[in-house]
């Protein structure tokens, strides 16, 4: 539009306003045609006139200030436009300004054009007696259509063949009715027996409130900890917030998520009926006889026998109960008076003492000292057995003091022997290997029993003076009580200690047994054996004795009972021997 208007304005030089200038300029018509004028931007001329001569751009050296002054001073500034073809300023006439206004308003350019002239119908709306055209009707308009017939017959055929089904009748049953009108509780399907109803959603607590009590809000550290946790281990799946009024509460962004997760739980989560134990923990504690009623047993530490400079590995009490022998890693055996804790004699042996054993025969005062692994006397005091720490068949040897000869009872080694024991009454010999205790009949020279200790590594063994019960301590902190009449498996496994058991001991007369462990404690238990075969032994822990300090991760190394009194001796890795009475 603008281009057209420019050309018109160019073609009509302004005769009325500038007659003089137009006559001077004459007809400078640009011949470059309708091209983008910026192609001549970099040239001094702006095109060519009819004679082919360059039309030069008018010299314009107006700066901004000049423009501004002109804007302020020239009253016709607003109607002055620059002709792009000639570069000259043109002042628009009144008609031209009118035209611009009309076009801007969206009116027709021509002032005299009337767009709302009354419409004249081509045909009248009144029905006339004569038709407009008098063409007779086609024949096809009154004879039945063949194509239609074909179509209808096709449809009929399709219906006949069942290809097209008639429209379903609309169901007029109401959407909702009394579904449970005829409730029959017996109609419950068998399936419902296995039905596990979905647990209900957890009801919200105080912390979910929009205005919870202040103690439920998380502190900074708690918030940080909450953020660092995995979503799976959150106890709350939101951070409690406090808003001062209901208006300030925003939408909960995870609302849809939570409903969706509930849906997933309902149809994807495997369900299982879990029996919840609703039990008072007090009822779980077994009802045992009171330790007070099971007295006597050692309760307090009475004496400490100091003197050894290294760990005391073994103890033995003389049959009279007056003397105590202890062997230590410092290479000495010390003899103590029990009642005074006085060291009567120190016997340097010149090697680590692993085991000492006092001859049980009260008429003979004899101590067996051994640096091998273990030495143990037969009840009569004539025989003793030693254990050597190697894996040959010569591990166990039985020696006779009166004849001064030794014999090797086993032809073949059955594993690393931990300790051996003589039966107090019968001619049985107990050999404990890592996991089993074998009981040999020495007279018949055969294996009578093999006790399964149910532990990884047997450390020690003791036999009840009546000879029917054996206890085994193990390095995996278990103590197994065997009833030889009952079974080859433990009657009871006691896990009282927290660390490896080093030694176990029975009392000669009282129904007591003790176990010493690496955790530095000696646990004294009441172990009543009844003569009635039907009654099982009664095992009750009665006292935990503490006193030994832990050194090198070792606590109590040996425990032994006094032969007559309810006293127990223990030797520890701290180089002391302690007496508990």
């Amino acid at each position: 539009m603008v281009a057209r208007w420019q050309s018109t304005s160019c073609s009509h030089p302004r005769p009325s306003h500038h007659p003089a200038s137009s006559s001077v300029l004459q007809d400078i018509r640009n011949t470059v045609g309708n091209i983008p004028m910026e192609w001549y931007q970099d040239f001094p001329h702006i095109g060519y006139d009819l004679e082919g001569k360059r039309i030069y751009k008018p010299i314009r050296n107006k700066d901004e200030l000049d423009k501004f002054l002109e804007k302020m001073e020239n009253p016709d500034y607003w109607r002055t436009v620059q002709d792009k073809m000639t570069g000259a300023d043109i002042k628009l006439t009144d008609e031209q300004v009118d035209l611009v206004h009309r076009l801007q308003k969206g009116q027709f350019g021509d002032v005299h054009f009337n767009p709302y002239e009354p419409a004249i119908d081509f045909f009248t709306h009144e029905v006339m007696i004569h038709p407009v055209t008098n063409r007779p009707a086609d024949k096809r308009s009154f004879i039945p259509s063949l194509i239609e017939k074909e179509k209808v017959s096709k449809l009929v055929h399709a219906i006949k063949m069942g290809w097209i089904k008639p429209r379903k009748p609309k169901e007029d049953t109401p959407t909702y009715y009394d579904l449970w009108a005829h409730e029959d509780p017996n109609s419950i399907l068998g399936r419902h027996k296995m039905h596990v109803p979905a647990p209900k959603m957890k009801l919200p607590g105080h912390e979910e409130s929009y205005n919870p009590p202040p103690e439920y809000l998380l502190s900074e550290e708690e918030k940080l900890a909450w953020e660092q946790q995995e979503p799976a281990e959150w106890r709350l799946n939101f951070v409690p917030q406090q808003y001062r009024c209901l208006r300030a509460v925003p939408a909960y962004p995870r609302f849809i998520h939570e409903r969706f997760e509930r849906c997933l739980d309902l149809y994807l989560c495997p369900r299982q009926r879990k029996m919840r134990v609703n039990v008072d923990p007090e009822d779980l504690i077994p009802k045992l006889p009171k330790p007070r009623d099971l007295q006597p047993f050692p309760t307090t530490q009475a004496l400490v026998y100091r003197g050894h400079s290294s760990l005391v590995r073994c103890l033995s009490v003389s049959p009279s109960g007056q003397w105590l022998a202890s062997g230590s890693d410092d290479g000495t055996v010390r003899f103590w008076e029990v009642c005074t804790a006085r060291c009567m004699k120190t016997l340097p042996v010149g090697g680590v003492v692993k085991s000492v054993a006092w001859n049980p025969n009260p008429t003979v005062c004899l101590v067996a000292v051994c640096a091998l692994k273990q030495v143990t006397w037969h009840g009569k005091g004539d025989y003793f057995a030693t254990v050597v720490a190697d894996n040959s068949n010569m591990q166990v040897l039985i020696h006779q003091t009166s004849k001064r000869w030794s014999q090797n009872p086993f032809r073949k080694s059955k594993g690393l022997v931990q300790c051996v024991l003589f039966h107090p009454i019968r001619p049985y010999f107990f050999v404990a290997t890592q996991r089993y205790v074998r009981v040999y009949n020495l007279l018949k020279q055969e294996l009578t029993k093999k006790l399964m200790a149910n532990c990884k590594w047997v450390s020690s063994m003791a036999i009840h003076p009546a000879g029917d019960n054996v206890i085994c301590g193990s390095y995996d902190s278990k103590l197994a009580w065997f009833d030889l009449d009952l079974s080859t498996r433990p009657y009871q496994l006691l896990r009282h200690h927290r660390k490896a058991l080093r030694s176990v001991a029975f009392h000669k007369h009282y129904p007591l047994f003790a176990s010493g462990s690496d955790d530095g404690t000696v646990i004294v238990c009441h172990g009543m054996v009844y003569n009635d075969l039907l009654q099982n032994p009664l095992l009750v822990p009665v006292k935990v004795l503490k006193g030994h300090a832990l050194t090198l991760d070792l606590g109590v190394l040996d425990v032994i009972f006094h032969p007559t009194q309810p006293w127990v001796f223990s030797s520890g890795a701290d180089g002391t021997v302690r007496l508990y009475t």
């Binding site: 419950i188 925003p250 609302f255 009171k290």
Partner: protein
């Protein structure tokens, strides 16, 4: 000796379960169809007791369904409908592809549909079963009814959900069965008691949803499809149990009131019907006109083996319930436009109150702000200009707290612009040893009929009166609190000794040596007895004790936090007071 060799995994639990994929193959369904079927029929995987045995020796992670469940799905009519629908979609696609519009129209007319009535009946053989499982259905319907009408799911579903939800709300109002309400940060929880079954649902706050992208709306839509059917039938039954019309009809008299003035047509009758209903301000029409003596004294039949005390307690409970139902009776509320209208109107109407709101806010307003008979105006703005004398201006929390407390709480704490007391959850029932926030204690005392409010006021007054010598006072208070602490510590110690830890507390030192000795002996006995426990029992015992200890620890932590907060508040108060004086 003789007989055939028994093969492994051909008897016992291995034959009772079937893996998901096998089940799918047996039913000849695609996975989405199988899932849909499981959702509609309420079939869920089971966790077998011995997973390895069921899994035929493998320990791979698999989901198992009960074989019986799957067999039960085999003759489900809906399975055939699924197949028909698949065929229908195929035919329709073909017709569109061939531009056979007539065929497409015909196919659309015969679109296979299915009904879920029989499934509802089968899943919930009795009405009470259905009520028990209504929680999820209601929550879902309330969520769907707030969805925008674009995208995500069909408009019809949204409209249906809205209708059913509104109908249920109207039922709750008519039967006055709402019991508890709770404003949480997630939404508003409601609990109603219908036929003795507690029904809890949650509605989101009225905001536009920011639809998450990691949610499968098809699964939710399938659930909603079932839930709407269920809720429709439940509503029908509930309405009929109250002798109300279903679909609900607004009471004739109320309808006249609701009619807009002449010339101000609001909308077509059919359109405005649901809106009128959802305004929750009109009562519903009954099938049988209610007689005046509706509250007939129920005869009491003593249950066998029930003592007079029990009966008395029961009667008392019944009376309390009746009183609770008439909590807002005779009160006239007006809701300002900034408070959420629907929840508040619902709650107030549930407890017998009359409620109205601004006429331009929603249809169904019955009286104007200027009505002099208004007793309570609910506002949620810091201050109210032009207060009318003769009515309380309260924050919305008052309504919720009053409902939960079962009595109209003192209004002073809830004035506009006042720092509100904490809003407590009515769903928490504290057992012994649990932490109870002090506000709850106060509330319990108030329910028992005591008036703890005066004390605190007096205290404050005293504090104000006293200037410098309030230090002594405070010490006394501290002494008191110390005593409380002592008691608490004693309790804790008992529990700790039970949990076999001897800890010499400061309290223990003061006790006599003899007693202490005795206690120590007892604890040692216990320790020894615990040593003799069987492994399994010991494990259980330790677990229980661990849980107990954790509970105590948490309660102590909360108590300590509260104490620290209270002291901080007190300090602050003092400072401001001093600053005021200076």
């Amino acid at each position: 000796m003789g007989g055939l060799e028994k093969k492994k995994y051909q008897r016992g639990s291995a034959t009772n379960y079937i893996t998901r994929n096998k089940a799918r193959k047996k039913l000849q369904l695609s996975l989405p169809d199988f899932r849909r079927l499981c959702i509609l029929k309420g079939i869920y995987p089971h966790e077998p007791k011995h997973k390895k045995k069921v899994n035929k020796g493998s320990t791979a992670a698999r989901t198992f369904y009960l074989l019986k469940d799957i067999k039960f799905l085999l003759h489900e009519p809906i399975v055939n409908k699924f197949r028909e629908y698949k065929i229908f979609v195929r035919k329709l696609r073909k017709a569109y592809g061939k531009s056979e519009w007539g065929t497409a129209e015909r196919l659309k007319d015969n679109k296979p549909t299915y009904k879920l009535d029989h499934i509802v009946k089968e899943r919930y053989p009795t009405f009470v079963d259905a009520l028990r499982d209504l929680d999820d259905a209601l929550s879902m319907c309330f969520l769907f009814s707030t969805f925008p009408r674009t995208g995500k799911c069909h408009v019809q579903t949204i409209q249906l959900c809205r209708r059913l939800a509104v109908e249920f709300l109207n039922y709750v109002i008519a039967s006055r069965s709402l019991r508890k309400v709770f404003l949480s940060i997630k939404g508003i929880y409601y609990q109603a008691e219908v036929l003795g079954q507690p029904i809890t649902w949650i509605t989101p706050y009225a905001f536009a949803h920011d639809h998450p992208t990691d949610v499968d709306y098809r699964v939710m839509a399938t659930f909603t499809e079932f839930y709407t059917t269920l809720l429709g039938f439940v509503n029908f039954r509930l309405y009929h149990s109250l002798n109300l019309h279903y679909p609900p009809k607004i009471d004739g008299q109320a309808e006249v009131e609701l009619k807009p003035a002449e010339g101000k047509e609001y909308a077509m009758d059919s359109e405005s019907y649901l809106e009128k209903l959802s305004a929750l301000s009109a009562s519903l029409a009954r099938v049988v006109a209610p007689t005046q003596e509706d509250d007939v004294e129920m005869d009491e039949f003593p249950v066998e083996g029930e003592t007079a005390e029990q009966m008395d307690a029961r009667r008392k409970e019944q009376e309390a319930l009746e009183k609770h139902k008439k909590l807002f009776e005779g009160l006239r509320f007006f809701l300002n436009r900034e408070v959420p209208r629907e929840p508040l109107a619902f709650i107030i109407r549930c407890f017998g109150g009359q409620v109205s709101w601004d006429k331009s806010l929603c249809i169904g307003a019955t009286y104007d702000v200027s009505d002099p008979s208004i007793t309570h105006q609910i506002v949620d703005r810091p201050q109210v200009e032009q207060q009318v004398v003769g009515r309380y201006y309260l924050q919305p929390q008052w309504v919720f707290d009053s409902v939960n407390a079962k009595l109209c709480l003192p209004v002073a704490d809830y004035f506009p612009g006042v720092l509100l007391p904490p809003h407590l959850s009515p769903f928490v029932t504290e057992q012994e040893g649990d932490y109870i926030p002090p506000e709850k204690l106060k509330l319990l005392a108030m329910q028992r009929g005591e008036d703890p409010g005066e004390e605190s006021e007096e205290e404050e007054e005293e504090e104000e009166e006293e200037d410098d010598n309030d230090k002594d006072e405070e010490e006394e208070e501290e002494d008191e609190s110390e005593k409380e602490e002592e008691i608490k510590l004693k309790k804790m110690e008992e529990q700790k000794t039970q949990s076999n830890k001897v800890q010499c507390m400061a309290v223990g030192l003061r006790l006599e040596d003899k007693q202490r000795l005795e206690q120590e002996q007892q604890s040692e006995e216990k320790r020894l007895a615990i040593m003799m426990m069987k492994k399994r029992e010991k494990y259980l015992y330790k677990k229980i004790m661990f849980g107990k200890k954790r509970k105590i620890r948490e309660a102590n932590k909360l108590a300590a936090k509260r104490k620290a907060h209270d002291t901080a508040m007190k300090e602050e108060k003092k400072k401001t007071k001093k600053a005021r004086r200076a």
